[in-house]
Subunit: 223 residues, 2 copies
Amino acid sequence: MATTDANTPRERYRAQVRAEITRHAWEQIATAGASALSLNAIAKRMGMSGPALYRYFASRDDLITELVREGYRGLADTLDRAAGDGAGLSGLAHALRDWALEDPQRYFLVYGTPVPGYHAPADITAVSAEIMTTLLDACAALPEDGTPGDGPAAEALRAHLEEHREWTAGHPAPPGTLHRFLILWTRLHGVLSLELAGHFTGMGIDPALLYAAELDGVLALRA
Amino acid sequence: MATTDANTPRERYRAQVRAEITRHAWEQIATAGASALSLNAIAKRMGMSGPALYRYFASRDDLITELVREGYRGLADTLDRAAGDGAGLSGLAHALRDWALEDPQRYFLVYGTPVPGYHAPADITAVSAEIMTTLLDACAALPEDGTPGDGPAAEALRAHLEEHREWTAGHPAPPGTLHRFLILWTRLHGVLSLELAGHFTGMGIDPALLYAAELDGVLALRA
DNA sequence: TGTACATCAGTGAACGCGCGTTCACTGATGTAC
DNA sequence: TGTACATCAGTGAACGCGCGTTCACTGATGTAC
């Protein structure tokens, strides 16, 4: 009936093989980084010939795009699940950290060094927005709090956010909430990405404590 | 006299060509990312044959390591210069941002996605520590402030820092200063890296304002 | 100042490699009557 | 239930490519007497 009927045995088989390909791709990325990803190497590990993979992905770039999609989708699901558990912002933050530590290269595929000139397709951008929205909603659920931070810079930012409230379609948020969301996101990413890149190991500091302290700081902002 | 006398014409010539090679390498990285760096492509652009570059770099990895070294060294010098200008932490932070925006891929070569299994040679680690020290000293120059942040997480972090004060050899710092340095570093990196990766463009927010607000927040901590 | 020798930058040919990708094909799986 | 046909997964050979890297060499630059 539909052009892609997922219930015919052939389609189920296709989906299985596709999943196995991406599984091997993730393994390869985890051990050698995304730039080392090779279709032939994956095929060899699966006991297939190289060209066979072209039944499942049109090109190497296609496979990488699918991995990026899986990355975003996986994080979005993880956060949605945490939000559903009712653990609040704190639960979301720890789910984020756990997800990142589970596979650092996967995190970097989503939030790491960009490839100049690469533009993610629209459906991936949409999932990215979904992630932001989940975090933003959790911020909105906190007791309303006026403004995080004083001074001219915070003022200017608040004025700016007042004008750009509309970017989350259907989720109008007061500038204070937007601000809180932004500093939550950037601060957690700051600690997390430096931790995953190993920049703390040299100085023997436990990033988990710093992460927790930053999270507490955002939660306690004039609450 | 010395094994490498930089004053003989031949040595000066060598240094020039080496510099020209790295210049072209940076161009290539800026436009296509570090993983696309190719010795042959660089040679072609310089109007030389490929093997000629082996007079100057033992291998491709050697060249990349040199670029990483230049990255760290350049940032260290930039921050030292800013510190010398007496502009304080605020000046350092803006020098950091300007340096990053000047060449995003260069910033990512230093603080971006790590290559699994790669370990920087000791001299690069030393320059990294130099950068941290410059920032730390600027934090120490601020009025002493007790502790940034309350709550159990901040307490735990402070206790942890109390034990790990020694990591900056010769620069003993009270836990409050260390804490301030850490949040300065991670928060600025958080905003900066997401900005450079283009994660703000989709939502039309000006990262410069957020960066300035975060900087102000760190400066104003119980000061 | 001039000649003899050593150093070394750069060339061009060649190596092996693994890559992405195409193509014509075989054989198994599913569909229609 | 059985036969005829269509679909499609996977193979193996082949393509061209650009890569890093080696090697024996030429010719220019510098050094020693």
